[in-house]
Amino acid sequence: MRPKACTFDWAGMETSVRKTRRHGRGRASAPRRAGPARRQSLEQRLRDAEERLRDIMEISSDWVWETDADHRFTHLSGRFFEVTGIAPETLIGTTRDALIHATLNPDDRQRHLAEIQAHLPFRDFIYQVRTAKGLRYFRTSGKPRFDADGRFIGYRGIGADVTEAIEANRRAEAEHRYFIEAIEAIPASLMLHDADDRLVICNTITRRFYPGLDHLLVPGTPFETLLRAQAARGFIPDAVGRLEEWIAERMQAHRNAQGTITRHLADGRWIQIIERRTSDGGVIGIRVDVTELKKQEQALARQTAFLQAVLDNISQGLSVVDGDMKLAAFNRRFLEMFDFPESFGEVGRPFEDFIRCIAERGEYGSGDVEEQVRRRVALARDPNPYCVEHVRPDGTVIEIRGNPMPAGGFVMTYTDITEHKRITRALKENAQQLAEYARDLQRSNTELEQFAYIASHDLQEPLRMVSSYCQLLQRRYRGRLDQDADEFIGYAVEGATRMQKMINDLLTYSRVGRTGGGGEAVACDEVVRTAVANLRIAIEESGARVTWRDLPTVVGDRTQLVQLFQNLIGNAIKFRSERPLEIDIWARRDGAFWEFAVSDNGIGIEPQYAERIFLIFQRLHDRSRYPGTGIGLAICRKVVERHGGRIWVTSEPGKGTTFHFTLSADAARRKE
């Protein structure tokens, strides 16, 4: 900092300065101890020295100062004013100590004061001074002065403003500090090698990458030395058994200083090394521990493989397309379902390729392939979920569902619904056929009922004629013709009468189909009471005891229900045994139905007839013993079925019979 040019003859200068000042400008006063010739030469030398000194002082940026024995300023050269802007007169008489605002180190001041109290020379004492230009750093050196008797008479010295140098130095130090802090702060190793591959600097974290090699992580260590030490400790699996080759490769890479090296260390860690050339031919190396990243990468790869395996094993096809309409994921089934070439199975392939492939095969029908592709791609881009069916040339039907993905793109699933479609179609056809059958059946039933009604009604007229005139014959001619005639007429009358009954029954039966089944709330309790009342005479004659309990209210046709109970009770009376007849009627809830039972202790029915008895005009017994047309139970079945129930019989021949039937309980509840 201090200019070298400042070394000069202090002794000579000092002498001449003092003399000059002491005698002012009195050049006329000649030196005391000189002869004329010597004086001439002495004066000449003195002038020369003085001139030299003046020149030097003018050139120098330093100033000159003097203090007395009390360290008060007695003199400050003009340079001081020029540099500091402080007029020297204002300082003459004040102590140097008063000038010191601060020192670089806090104890410098005390040391310096002690120094000058001891009258010792000092050099390069730096202190801060408040000046018109603000706080400035002065550097000063001084030498004590003594008189001829050796008494201390003050100091003489020079001073200079070194503020810029100090501040530059401070900045440099700060910059260095920042640099160190910066490289220490980064979470990666940073190594700087010079052009000779010697380590210049590295941050502390670097030690983690060279465990146990702290002693080598010092400036000056050649890079190769580090590599060998590392390999020697077995850290580099790559180098095992091929040390020299590896060193050569590694040094080569180091010198190229391009790209990234990813290294798996023997301790399991993954390191990523990035090397770059510096402007002065060195190399800067950055090392990052990417073990966690690598682990995640591996976990992700495992997971991806797992998912892919899952996807490849589902029966649906699947493709995922990203926001750029490129294939992002897919499964085998997707390729298989559309017979895409094997080469299509790559992530990143434009989705358009798949559509074009299908279009070119003509699977979208005839027409411009490009137009078809455009339309399909537009459909696929639709941000709304969609579902279309695609029919392949072999008849396979594929249902394609598209759903947008949250981050753009969409996922599509492909389901082979050929079989599903076939079954659905078959079911639909079946249902249609069934409905047709039902309609036919309904029509045929209606027609039958109509036929039965009309037939029986219209048959009544002629039959009545037959019957009436046979009876008229009987009435007017009995005993007037011969006995055979009486008998014949008797059979004719009987047959006509029986036929009348059958026709009547048939009419009743057909009426059940044509009317009623309606919807009034009917209390079965009351219905049974009515039926029993209607059968009063028969019940009294047979001595039957009819009991019933807890019968519900149902919805139906009151008249038909009365007929139902009446027929069943009547049936029990007709087929009673020798035992006193007991008829019991009860009901119990069975799910959505009420199950009714009418049981007796009569003659019973052989199980093989359990079905036949419900058919119209079917009789199991001799007419003379058990009269009747055989319509009663057929009517019962019709009434029950018209009410949505079913009827059946359980019986033990000789012990009794129970007729069971159900009526819907839902309708009952609705009405109640």
Binding site: H457, Q460, E461, L463, R464, M465, S467, S468, Y469, Q471, L472, R475, T497, Q500
Partner: protein, 152 residues
């Protein structure tokens, strides 16, 4: 015997397309105790012509009682009944509907048309005989009929 006058036979119009039925009624009335003249109309048109003494029925007597079957060819019994009851000159003649129908609807409709009574023809001859006698008894001996009005 009848309140209409003992010496005059009762005039009965039977509207019946079935000759067998007509004969049966005739036989039944024959067995009865009231002297009567039975006229038979084969369909509704004929019946109304008779009642109004038109189309060859000029001079026939005004019936005291009409026995009307419902199911007739062409104009049926219901129409005959309706026209009679709307005709001031015929509406006072008692009409006994005598039919094979047991249908509630027929019964209701017939009374709505102001029939005087509705009887289902029984299948049994004895019952039929009894019914015809009952009609005879009731309408021709018990009931007070409106005074005979001579036609205008």
């Amino acid at each position: 015997m009848g309140i209409q006058g003992a010496d005059r036979p009762i005039e009965i119009l039977l509207v019946e397309d079935n000759a067998g039925d007509a004969r049966l009624t005739q036989e039944a009335l024959k067995e009865g105790k009231v002297r009567n003249n039975l006229y038979v109309a084969r369909d509704g048109g004929e019946a109304l012509a008779f009642l109004r003494q038109r189309d060859g029925y000029a001079g026939v007597p005004r019936p005291d009682l009409v026995l009307l079957d419902l199911n007739l060819p062409r104009k049926d019994g219901r129409e005959v009944l309706a026209e009679m009851k709307q005709d001031p000159s015929l509406q006072t003649i008692p009409v006994v509907v005598l039919t094979t129908s047991e249908a509630e609807q027929d019964i209701l409709r017939t009374y709505q048309l102001n029939a005087n009574c509705y009887i289902t023809k029984p299948m049994d001859l004895d019952k039929f005989m009894m019914i015809v006698r009952s009609i005879e008894d009731f309408w021709l001996t018990i009931v007070q009929l409106p005074p005979r009005m001579e036609r205008v």
